[in-house]
Symmetry: D2
């Protein structure tokens, strides 16, 4: 099985967890979702994140879902599993379990109680000690969700102290200056260079993030092909093409990033596209109104026309 | 001088406060900004909001700035002044002062300590008692800034209890369902109909908000003509034209809405457009990097090409 | 096994989770802790709460610990188990598991994202549906920890709608007015009367809470005999004796309630008293300084002298 | 007029702002309050803090109140004035005004948006630049109110960079370890020694704070003589006497520190003691119930008996 390392690039798709219309785990849709993502050209998958409704799964369901994803992926791309936990014992337990199942690495966000640069740095030294040197891990910097602000300096301290940290999931919306500062530090030789994938919702700042040295994106969007296309055009040096593609999808990406109902929009589109059988979200969770559904249909139709104009 | 009332429609522009390069209040730029906004077709102006750096002005400067705006506007459109205050005595003092200067009404957001539907409703009964029946006021619902969640039901209670409340500044991002629920209540005859202007940054959900019954927008964007154009096309029943215009400005509007540096982007563009003499922001405040400035130039050039294609 | 019901009174002790000096679950200390609590006269036990380091246990450890406590208690008093979870599926799973092991009921706090009276009420209707009618449950109102403010009115709505809710853990520090309002509603016949145990740390407002109609306390303190004694004196109508006892322990109770290091103080004292073998706290967690330990020794010695004067 | 400096010791009382029963500023009570505080033996006064209802005063009322306090104090002790403001221009304006009136220094807390050690340090460099070298100022560290956590290291950085910072108001409840760390740094010669007065409500940890090197307290309590007595006994080396006094007042001090209604308790007692004419609090503010008033009467009577036993 592939292990995550600092050379990771491209799009790591944050996968949804498919449920049947009556709320059970939907393993056939899980298989389809994996194939869909790979067909879109993603470089990796991330499961059990916030948008994966991880906290709504029982322990058994989590194991079953991760196992199914790993079995279907079958080593074709790395799979990262969310392992944030309020205590180190459950973090170690979950990590050991998913690594044994074949995960490529785990992702850890700080608990919402952390304050002060030193406390944050100390926490991640404990994470490193908990995970051990054999487990590659992703540092998730997502202040809106965690309430923890990690300045560039602190992230660089964590990277310096934790050999297992191979990637930053940059999600400090949009934090372009921070991203640039972290990349500048490794470019100048003063810091180990790790992979930086950006997590700002739906890639809403992806072109600007790539220009500041991001290696790609780790986020979710019902049209992952947009993010793949933008990354490829950027890598090919065609910045205008990257932005054209991005702009074509932007009205819908914006709509999908609405706080609160975003996941409902994403699952609705994925169901419309035939990727998952049902758009069901477990409670507590949002629902779309009839007008919301009309909005999505209208934006999708416009998007198709725009892409046709672009020859994309 | 015009008074704000429940029939208000169109775009009320949240004005910036112009400073000279060395940080002094810039009254000549203030005049130009007023004319620029009116040329763009705005229906009103709002001053001393968060994006107006209100808290960075001395009491004298606030009075001078409001007076200058009112003098220049000279009654051509209504001017709303932010009057949120932690206590009712300063709220009364500020309101009396700006109404005497010629403001059309004031705007009040709840203090960040309020919790519970009854506490919120009681607070705004006190606001009504403080302002008195002669002062029209805008209820600002902006949970990201205030931390106070006001369900539709609570907003309807406030409207029922406070005759002076003539407008909702809807800024619960994006809160399409809430907007629809409030409008549905007055459509069904169960509530007094007030004006609803949406405040989500730069109008990022303006087309969807108009379709749910918003009367326009009260927000800031360096291209107010976009919001005016979208509102006009919507009013004319041309939803596709509204969306075409919106989409053309969206990449830049998104860029301007970055938390943290948004105001710096806005002032930079306004300075580039010749509206204000300097993009100066008082400390504490953000600054743009060279790459940010390149981003803006690139997005602006693309926007012009797109608008040309639209014949706009 | 006893089931929790609305007649519950007295002290339900929030139990610590004992670890050995090297961090393993300490089951022998668990047995001693149970006997110690029963010797102190507690009416019930609560396990897997925040002060029980619940989030630092693996799933296996949680099951083992709860099983050990239940086996040792052997039906002598009811045991309540914390079952708050971000999703309903894991809440149902955990509840089914602990009820099968012999728990008397579960305790549920709202997730920190809830805002607005209706949203809170709706959440607990879902909780009731998840737990089913056969499981008695405790509503935990602890705004400092959850960020969710539940006005008295909302608590009364939850009680009206959820037949399984038999107890309120009142922890809105100190919220004397809210407690009085909830009790007044059932006294007036307008609401079902449920048990109210107060959770404010170490019982720091216990005499005042009992006078407003609380039935006892559900909290932790290294001297549970204080809370038992205060409740008994109050029940016997000897308010001055209740306050004398309370005052004697107050300097130490105050010290133990320090945010951050409180649990370390509690475990230190419990280890000094021979209840648990080690004061070990799993990371991330606080540690005492040498001066802190001196403080505790001094306060404990003074407390003993004071109790001797009282003949207690 | 005396200027605040790093040798400040003893009790700086956070003064209430007295209102008449109909809500007007009560200047005669202001005079009595000043004399009362001086009679109690305070070393200084602090006005316009949170507990002084500063935000509920109009600009004119603030000036009048500060002027009256300063006139009455007439240089007998230093008077510190709260000058926290969201922007530097109003901070400079307010500071200039109160220093001209005769204040001994100002007090500044960080704005609630600050995150990250460097951002906090940078903010206070701006404060120093704003206030200039001639104005002594107090750094207020009060995370519960501001949401800003300042580790000991950051406080030491601020002290190193800001020559005008002469005092820390230590209010990180209770933060005994932090207080000890800051004092240890100056004891070891690695940092400039500044005055540390503790602000934890009513001095609830005053004996422990003094033992860790605090120079006294800057907080409010309706019995300032307790804090003065504890400081004096501690300075005289009689730690048991200090603790005896403290314990005698603790039940009431605890009661007065209830979040939400604390200020109502304090003003009620001050009115009972004849210090202020009315316990009026401006809206929005708390009110006492009849039971609360009974509680206070009972606790006060017990306190008097206890003090009589101590011969105090």
């Amino acid at each position: 099985m592939p292990r995550l390392d600092t050379t990771a690039r491209g799009v790591y798709l944050i996968a949804v967890t498919p449920f049947t219309a009556d709320g059970a785990l939907d393993l056939e849709s899980t298989d389809r979702m994996v194939e869909f993502a790979l067909d879109c050209g993603v470089s990796g998958l991330t499961v059990l994140g916030i948008m994966g409704e991880a906290t709504k799964l029982t322990a058994d369901e989590s194991r079953t879902f991760v196992g199914r994803v790993l079995a279907r992926v079958a080593g074709r791309v790395p799979v990262v599993v969310g392992a944030s936990a309020p205590g180190f014992a459950p973090m170690r337990e979950l990590t050991a379990s998913v690594m044994a199942q074949g995960a490529a690495g785990v992702m850890v966000a700080p608990p919402h109680t952390l304050r002060g640069d030193d406390a944050i740095a100390a926490y991640f030294e404990n994470v490193q000690a908990t995970l051990g040197d054999a487990v590659p891990w992703v540092l998730q910097d997502h202040p809106v969700a965690t309430g923890v602000q990690m300045p560039a300096k602190v992230i660089l301290r964590i990277v310096a102290n934790a050999p297992g940290c191979v990637m930053l999931k940059h999600e400090d919306c949009p934090g372009l200056a921070k991203l640039a500062a972290i990349r500048a530090a490794s470019d100048a030789g003063g810091a180990r260079r790790i992979s930086i994938l950006t997590g700002n919702g739906g890639g809403l700042f992806l072109p600007e993030e790539l220009r500041r040295g991001a290696d790609g994106a780790m986020t979710g969007f019902a049209y992952p092909e947009m993010m793949v296309g933008v990354c490829r055009a950027h890598d090919a040096g065609d910045l205008e093409r990257a932005q054209d593609l991005f702009d074509a999808y932007l009205p819908l990406a914006r709509y999908e990033q609405q706080p609160g109902i975003g996941l409902a929009v994403r699952k609705h589109i994925l169901a419309e596209r035939g990727v998952i059988a049902s758009a069901h979200i477990r409670r507590p969770g949002p629902a779309l109104s009839a007008v919301d559904v009309e909005d999505i249909a209208r934006l999708t139709a416009r998007q198709q026309r725009r892409l046709a104009q672009l020859g994309a």
